[in-house]
Symmetry: C2
Subunit: 380 residues, 2 copies
């Protein structure tokens, strides 16, 4: 990217923040590190492990910081993500989506050959048969988690009966090993109220627990139980069922999570760490200005971005097409001029990050690094 | 991207369509070429020129096909887009957004030095001053269009008075040349009804025409008047004002444009040419299956994608998170199995294309090329 290359020569210079070519994805390293430490501390206090989800950041530098703070390994949503991170030397992954089709399973086995640990979920008998046949053909062993639908109705077996059939097939296959279960309640992570989210989460974990009991009763041990997320991390441990949390968004705390009461005391445990920097490109009218960040640079699947600085309090962002945003200015506020910097807190982090090739990393006001987003677009 | 590299060995093999690693952006070359020819024919019949907008496709191979069919040059929304296309040897651009800030203006002049033609819009007096100073410092001349707001309230001068002030400043600057006007009615392109869109478009062009008259009366010639789009292309010429059309989306005809009556006779002039290929990854429940295309692979700023093939008529797509989609199956329909291919017509082409690195190009059922999307993510 031409603009990213241009920004390289600004690194470690004072005033870097002002010179960043917009639109740019800007990461506040102090806030990122504080968030990683806060989650590590919370999990340690709960006696639960962390396997953070790399689908959020897609970035080797951030993954390394999570591992340095005690994470067991990384979750990836897609095989391509794990491949991109493995290219940077990372070697422990849980693939949280089924890996289907013959060619993708070959890639899975290639990845397995260069990993210390590779876990993959399964929820389908025919997919399991393909995994077993491919592993046998390569003389490899695959470690599997049965994915359990705990209410999101996306992936996962629908009931204990389906889980038992998969476990039985795994048990009889010499190249497949059942290591546990996955149950991810993605549909509950953004329930705004703490108590409502906690009750719903316990109900979801009850479904997962019932499947675990059925498997164990049938003689299938499930030592690893993976699930949870940023929205439920404060109480995911309470049921004593999950052995690890798949938290992702906590690292940057987007607008969507800012609307969620994450802790019982109401104190936000994480700080906003990720912004889209933008600049005013047109200011011909009273009452609004146009900035250079639209739906190609902030995702539109969540709430709207929030103006973090660069315009008066109360200025509201609206998408104004693929390339532009509109800042509606409150009456009587002073209008930013063409060229002025406006920082937007990212609305939904995962999908916004996936639009960029680099993080522009700030330490205070100085641009100190450009971190590649190695797994951007690796959806296959 | 690992999956793209893997797909290279399928090119020109029969059955390529079935082997494509999903999710993938798939371009039907027959439909693309028919669409490019249909627009070229329509413009020729109207006696108007085409300067197609590359913000849609961001791809050198498609740009070349448009130029081969008589396009004057290309529009780009952002400087970074034009830089990426110039790296492939393209050399005539109209930058349809203001180019602001000192560093970006230096890049503009660098680009100018390697182009046959480079036009840029302006709507702000201070930005104009910076452009003039930078051009003078380099001994270069910049060809400018005054951008006129014709009702979208995004970029462009608000009235003839602002345009006259800019034209006067350009006229007195030895390094700046006024070549004409831009007036783009982006807010009207998707008005569904033909007659309503035509009336609104004529009203917008009346605003542009009034500015042109004011400038010419003051002695400022405006030989080039650029505007129009896919939604208004059938009648953009009628006012006799525009000299060229900035059409973009016609090349692929997304779900959004499929809902618009583009020609007076109601016959759709363009064919759907762009799809996201996806596969079923989970089928544990009755009534729906989960596919591997979510909000990281189909944009969410427009309508929902439409199922083109791979599931029964009536199957409806819904986003099911960043990585997944849900296909709701009509009662009694046969459910696709895990691994089955499902093709989605792209909902909004510009923002969906910007999520991918390559087009997988089909000729009939054979994968015949992978075209890089050189300007993907080039938003700066």
């Amino acid at each position: 990217m031409p603009q990213a290359l241009l920004d390289e020569d600004l690194i470690a210079r004072p005033g870097g923040r002002l010179e960043i070519t917009t639109p740019a994805l800007v990461l506040d390293l102090d806030a990122l590190e504080a968030n990683i430490a806060a989650m590590a501390e919370a999990a340690a206090a709960q006696g639960i492990a962390l396997r953070p989800h790399a689908k959020t950041h897609k970035c080797i530098a951030i993954a390394r910081r999570q591992l340095d703070q005690g994470a067991l390994g990384l979750c990836c949503a897609k095989l391509g993500e794990a491949e991109a991170l493995a290219d940077g030397g990372l070697d422990s992954f849980l693939l949280t989506s089924p890996v289907t089709t013959a060619r993708r399973i070959e890639r899975l086995l290639d990845l397995k050959a260069r990993c210390r640990e590779l876990l993959v979920v399964v929820d389908d008998a025919e997919n399991l048969r393909q995994l077993g046949a491919a592993a046998a053909a390569r003389g490899a062993a695959l470690d599997l988690l049965i994915d359990v639908d705990v209410g999101q109705h996306r992936t996962g077996v629908a009931d204990a009966e389906q889980a038992l059939a998969l476990a039985a097939a795994i048990a009889t296959h010499p190249n497949l090993v059942l290591v546990g279960l996955q149950g991810y309640a993605g549909h509950l992570q953004h329930v705004a109220g703490y108590d409502e989210r906690r009750s719903a989460s316990h109900a979801a974990l009850d479904r997962l627990g019932a499947v675990k009991t059925a498997l164990e009763t049938a003689g299938h041990a499930c030592p690893l139980v993976s699930g949870g997320g940023t929205g439920t991390h404060a109480f995911d441990h309470e049921a004593g069922l999950l052995t690890e949390l798949q938290v992702g968004s906590y690292i940057v705390c987007d607008v969507q999570y800012d609307a969620v009461t994450l802790r019982a005391d109401g104190v936000p445990p994480f700080r906003p760490a990720l912004f889209v920097y933008s600049r005013v490109v047109s200011a011909s009218h009273d009452g609004f200005v146009t900035i250079d960040a639209g739906s190609k640079t902030v995702s539109t699947d969540g709430p709207l971005p929030r103006v973090a600085f660069g315009a008066d309090q109360g200025a509201a962002y609206a998408i104004s097409g693929d390339e532009f945003g509109r800042l509606e200015l409150p009456p009587g506020s002073s209008a930013p001029k063409v060229g002025d910097l406006v920082a937007l807190q990212v609305p939904h982090c995962d999908t916004t990050i996936n639009l960029f090739d680099h993080y522009h990393c700030l330490r205070g006001d100085a641009l100190v690094a450009l971190w590649p987003i190695e797994a951007r677009g690796a959806s296959g």
